[in-house]
Amino acid sequence: MTVATILNPAPYTVNADDHLLEVVRITLEKRFRSLPVVDGEGRYRGMVSLHGILGLLLPTAATVDHGLADLAFVADTLDDLKEVLQGFVEHRVSDHMDPGVKPVHPETSIVEATLLMFRTGENLPVVDRSTGRLVGLISPWEVLGKLV
């Protein structure tokens, strides 16, 4: 059985040129964890996630490889974090999406897709190999929903 049989064929998508904070609002409102990003022609560009947006609130010194192991000594308040987020008001989705999230394809096996979701902890975009267009999304809900 392949991903094509269980994928969500009409996922919510955002455009690479959309304002980042607007996407954050939508993500929160609709309780999404991550969203696929597409260009004007529906081609997959990357994923934008709440995890990535949380990272924007943190100092680079902690998020970079071999950075600070913890920030228990930093006493920034909610207002400080709000100020940090406001610094991204002009930013676009393309500035902060993760283009490294590798898509699966309609013909990918379900077990392989499940393994990838387990390893990355992310929903996976499903992309047509020949056109590069997003054709759906697969998440734990699609897999487990067929089983239970």
Binding site: P59, A61, H66, G67, A72, F73, V74, A75, D76, D80
Partner: protein
């Protein structure tokens, strides 16, 4: 060139051992400079080639490996790696920033001094790896460019490392090869470092003073940091500081105790590993020990192994002796000229080349000058010239020392790249100033 007796078996195809050792060494050195292939791979390949081609046999090759240097480096890497987990480095960095009321100039000076002191007592690379992230956090909060701070810490780590036996790999190598004690370095190198560091910092502040300003609000954010929260494991902190203090005491007393520095460092590492794992069981203990050893810089250690063997190949085949004769001839056999030539030559070369292979080559070369200059004891100023030139020379360029590259790599990942040419413009002159001070020091004190 006459090969030394005993070490060399017949060389393949009847080639001249000195020629083979020289070609292999120069080729490896050239490839290291291109940075296309990891230096540990190259050094091990070069060492292997010397054995395969018959310049050395395995027994002779192992005789060339300075296990005292390796043991000292490995032991200190393990100790510092475990100590770092306690959060003590972050604690000290934050405490020092708050001590100067989070004033940008004060922070630059304090963090540099902290880096220099840690680098003198620990390993340079680990020190900057632990101090630089806190620096980035502080400059982020102060809305300042981190560049002056990072560069200042690079310079301070190399200057601080020059002060002691264990501060920088060239000193470890020289100390081990010549039998110099921790106290010898304290007596002979620390005084000049105490002059060079403040002058370097003063020049840096002068250069960047206009950029070192922050708003009161930003400073308040730093002042709100609670350094006590940086200590993640108080028990480990106490254990690590106790072991570190014992190890440092061991270094100070190692001549009287008749112990080599490697024994002290490795025993300290084993003791700290024991203390850190007494309360752990089974898989958790295995994982923790595995992690502690994995933290060591194995690339550097294997690089040393290959390098020692290659240099031993040069030594036993007579190349080093020949080079020493040439160097003495160039300096006209004048001791003062030789000392100054070693100081400046080491500094300039170490700015552009890896100072570790350079020092590894210079050690037997200087040793073989003993008959010319009246015995081993008479060579002491040459050792101090080599140590000062090789350690301080590393400040001249971004590729001059491992700590420079580590900071540059971290800064790049954090989105604040340090480029080769701007660094050269800011720091090469500062390196020359430090060598000029060392020149005066060597002449006044020893020549």
């Amino acid at each position: 060139m006459t090969p030394a007796p005993g070490a060399a078996p017949p060389v393949i195809f009847g080639l001249n051992a000195a020629a083979v050792a020289s070609v292999v060494f120069v080729s490896v050195y050239a490839l290291i400079i291109t940075e296309k292939i990891n230096r540990a791979i190259l050094a091990l390949l070069g060492a292997g080639l010397l054995i395969l081609m018959g310049v050395l046999n395995q027994e002779a090759a192992l005789k060339g490996v300075d296990f005292n240097t390796l043991g000292l480096l490995l032991g200190m890497m393990v100790i510092v790696g475990i100590t770092g987990k306690s959060g003590v480095f972050q604690y000290v960095a934050i405490w020092s920033a708050k001590k100067v009321q989070a004033r940008p100039v004060g922070i630059l000076v304090m963090l540099s001094v902290v880096t220099a002191v840690f680098s003198a007592l620990l390993d340079n690379v680990t020190t900057v790896l632990l101090v630089v992230p806190v620096t980035l956090l502080i400059t982020d909060e102060l809305k300042l460019k981190p560049y002056p701070y990072l560069v200042s810490e690079v310079l301070a780590s190399n200057v601080g490392g020059t002060a002691t036996l264990i501060g920088d790999p060239p000193n470890i190598m020289i100390g081990s090869a010549v039998g110099l004690s921790f106290n010898d370095f304290l007596i002979h190198l620390t005084p000049v470092v105490l002059v060079i560091l403040p002058i370097t910092l003063a020049v840096l502040v002068l250069i960047w003073r206009k950029e070192l300003t922050a708003t009161d609000k930003a400073r308040q954010r730093v002042m709100r940091f609670n350094e006590r929260e940086a200590i993640t494991d108080p028990r480990l902190l106490k254990q690590a500081l106790t072991v570190l203090a014992l190890v440092l005491l061991g270094f100070i007393l190692h001549h009287a105790l008749r112990l080599q520095p490697a024994t002290i460092a490795m025993f300290g590492a084993a003791l700290l590993l024991l203390l850190d794992n007494l309360h752990r069981h089974g898989e958790e203990q295995s994982k923790n020990v595995h992690h502690a050893f994995a933290e060591a810089e194995w690339v550097t250690l294997f690089f040393f192994v290959g390098l020692f063997i290659m240099v031993y190949g040069l030594e036993t085949s007579g190349v080093v002796h020949w080079l020493a004769e040439k160097l003495v001839a160039v300096t006209g056999g004048d001791f003062k000229t030789t000392a100054i030539a070693i100081l400046w030559g080491s500094a300039i070369l170490s700015a552009f080349l890896d100072n570790i292979p350079f020092v590894a080559t210079m050690i037997p070369l200087i040793k073989s000058m003993a008959p010319t200059f009246g015995g081993e004891q008479a060579l002491m100023p040459l050792w101090w010239s080599l140590a000062l030139g090789a350690c301080l020379g590393g400040n001249g360029t971004l590729i001059g020392a491992s700590a420079n590259l580590v900071v540059a790599g971290f800064a790049e990942r954090a989105g604040h790249p340090i480029r080769f040419v701007p660094y050269l413009k800011s720091c090469f002159g500062l390196m020359l100033i430090s060598i000029a001070i060392s020149h005066v020091y060597i002449v006044v004190r020893y020549l």
